[in-house]
């Protein structure tokens, strides 16, 4: 995979996650949304033989699922971190169960397509940080979203529906990471059980590395993609595959330590 193919899912998921960060919480289910979107996309495309239908229905289904996920979290006053983990877990079970039910396998599901055009998604991903920057700093939605994250009461006293902003932010993050999953499905032209391979989690870390700023996140994603290319490169040089698989997590941890350390020193 080349640089743009690697950076696209990272950008989609981390910018998506940024919206939930602005609304004052963390969506830890990014990984789950990536995986389930890839699964739904491949399944529907395989069953209907139409990429367009697969794409649109996947987006629609993710919209519904994320609406249920976030509105239940808000209405039950549940801990969003825990419900996010629950969603990850549920998706994992659901994928295995459905995959077995429909395809009689819990493994790889392949499409018989020669090539799928993914250029529009790549372009969208690259533009996304700038679009987000504009939305956050110039629009009413962006202003209120930030206010939601900083002080819920402030919105309530201005008689604005505060829950609306968290709900939409959660849904945006689900849709964008879902788009990342669809992109992976399109690139591989198949679904494999661990298709997300930690991208959702790494995206969360990138959000922190990028100091919750769209441009910072763009840079963070770039660094990660280069690291990924590097690890792909070393794969061809007799390094055990386990170490290569562990490398992104290791680099994430190191990057996290370095960036947080800087911050701690600056705060002194």
């Amino acid at each position: 995979m080349n640089f743009f193919e690697i950076i696209t899912p990272f950008l989609l998921a981390s910018i998506g996650g940024l919206y939930t960060e602005y609304s004052g919480t963390t969506n830890v289910a990014l990984e789950g949304y990536i995986t389930i979107s890839a699964f739904i996309f491949i399944t529907i495309t395989k069953l209907t033989n139409s990429i367009l239908l697969g794409f649109c229905l996947t987006i629609g289904i993710i919209l519904i699922i994320s609406f249920i996920h976030s509105s239940l979290t808000i209405k039950l006053k549940a801990n969003p971190i825990i419900t996010g983990l629950a969603v990850n877990m549920g998706f994992y079970g659901l994928i295995s169960a459905l995959s077995y039910k429909i395809f009689k396998t819990k493994g790889v599901i392949s499409l018989d397509y020669p090539n799928i055009e993914t250029m529009p998604i790549k372009i969208l991903a690259i533009l996304l940080p700038f679009i987000t920057l504009f939305i956050i700093s110039k629009t009413r939605y962006g202003l209120r979203l930030r206010v939601r994250g900083l002080s819920k009461k402030s919105l309530i006293y201005s008689r604005i529906n505060a829950d609306y902003y968290r709900l939409t932010a959660m849904m945006i993050s689900a849709i964008l990471s879902g788009l990342g999953g669809i992109f992976l499905g399109m690139e591989l032209r198949s679904f494999i059980p661990n298709i997300g391979s930690g991208r959702g989690w790494i995206s969360l870390v990138i959000i922190y590395l990028g100091r919750k700023n769209p441009i910072g996140i763009l840079i963070g994603c770039g660094i990660f993609s280069v690291a990924q290319i590097f690890s792909n490169y070393s794969q061809n040089h007799n390094v055990p595959s386990e170490f290569i698989l562990a490398l992104p997590y290791f680099l994430t941890l190191i990057a996290l330590i370095i960036s947080m350390r800087k911050k701690t020193i600056n705060n002194r």
Partner: protein, 341 residues
């Protein structure tokens, strides 16, 4: 709705049964039979019942581990890797120390398991204290690294050739925990796990250490003002959590599988966390919630064997429970009121 919210246990049971029934009706061709097998399977004979209890043993320890971390106000999201590390260390030492007396290598194993897994979470808590790295993230990241490293040992260096699964060679029989209910796999590991929970329950409730540990986890500002060393308890909480996960790995090897199998830790960490959250604030409830979780797993595996549903059924149900138990609305309904005597 409000009446249901006042009875959280009832709500959790309803939330288990309803999705189970719906899912089985979707997934199965003979839903009534599948449901029957799902709910009665674990109690159908001594074999199934014993297996269910044995499945509970490591889960009790991971739940307790997650519970202790939660009590000290940390999240340990790295349970999976810690269990695998504990299991791998156990397997590697027990299969490679034939040259020293068995009692010595047993002791050595337990000490090294506790030290290594405890150290892993200790590192996370130090990273949080010194570098401000959220332990929720670092425990997860470190755990992922550990899983791959352990996998390297199990599937490359110490792989048992000519086996159809990825496993190391079995540990010597002398190290296997005593079987309690043959022909089922129930081992004395169950008794060990239950004893450890009772021990921690006593420590937390009846000692100054437990009191300070609890208060420190609940409210940092208050305990600091009372002269309690918050840092100490926070680091300790996460460290103990890791060590207990390691111990779960030890029991997993010596009490169930008798060798280290790639991926056999699967879900013990996550289930432990959700079981700890279901248990709420009382450690003794861990026994009940762990049993409940392995009942779901056992029911699902009975249903997989005897009918046409898949084992992931229990994962889906557990995720629903996981979702609901974190609700603040439900927690609020459990509060003891001040002006009512």
């Amino acid at each position: 709705m409000n009446n249901i919210l006042k009875k959280p246990a009832l709500l959790i049971v309803i939330l288990t049964i309803v999705p189970t029934v719906i899912l089985v009706f979707i997934l199965s061709k003979d839903p009534i039979y599948s449901l029957y097998v799902f709910f009665t399977g674990p109690f159908s004979n001594k074999f199934n019942f014993g297996n269910m209890l044995n499945r509970t043993s490591p889960l009790i320890l991971t739940s307790l581990g997650a519970f202790i971390a939660l009590k000290s106000n940390s999240f340990n999201l790295g349970g999976e890797g810690q269990v695998y590390l504990g299991a791998t260390v156990t397997g590697l030492i027990l299969t490679n120390t034939a040259f020293i007396p068995s009692s010595l290598s047993l002791l050595l194993t337990i000490v090294i398991v506790l030290l290594t897994t405890g150290f892993v979470t200790f590192v996370s808590s130090i990273l949080e204290e010194k570098y401000n790295v959220n332990s929720l993230i670092s425990t997860y990241l470190i755990s992922m690294i550990l899983i791959y490293i352990c996998d390297y040992f199990v599937t490359n260096l110490f792989l048992l050739e000519n086996s159809n699964i990825l496993t190391t060679k079995p540990i010597p029989e002398i190290f296997e925990l005593k079987s309690l209910l043959p022909p089922s796999s129930l081992s004395s590991g169950f008794i060990i796990a239950v004893t450890i929970v009772i021990m921690f329950s006593f420590l937390l409730k009846n000692t100054v250490w437990g009191y300070e540990f609890t208060i420190s986890g609940r409210n940092n500002a208050f305990s600091k003002s009372m002269g309690i060393n918050n840092k100490k308890y926070k680091i300790l909480g996460l460290t103990i959590s890791g060590a207990l996960h390691g111990l779960a790995g030890y029991i997993l090897v010596t009490g169930s599988y008798h060798s280290v199998i790639s991926g056999f830790y699967m879900n013990l960490g996550w289930n432990g966390l959700s079981s700890a959250l279901v248990a709420g604030s009382r450690p003794i409830m861990i026994l009940i919630s762990s049993l409940f979780f392995s009942y779901l797993d056992s029911g699902a595996s009975s249903a997989t064997v005897l009918s046409d549903v898949t084992i992931e059924l229990s994962t889906i149900i557990k995720s629903v429970i996981f979702f609901v138990i974190s609700s603040k609305l439900i927690k609020d309904s459990l509060i003891k009121k001040g002006n009512k005597t």
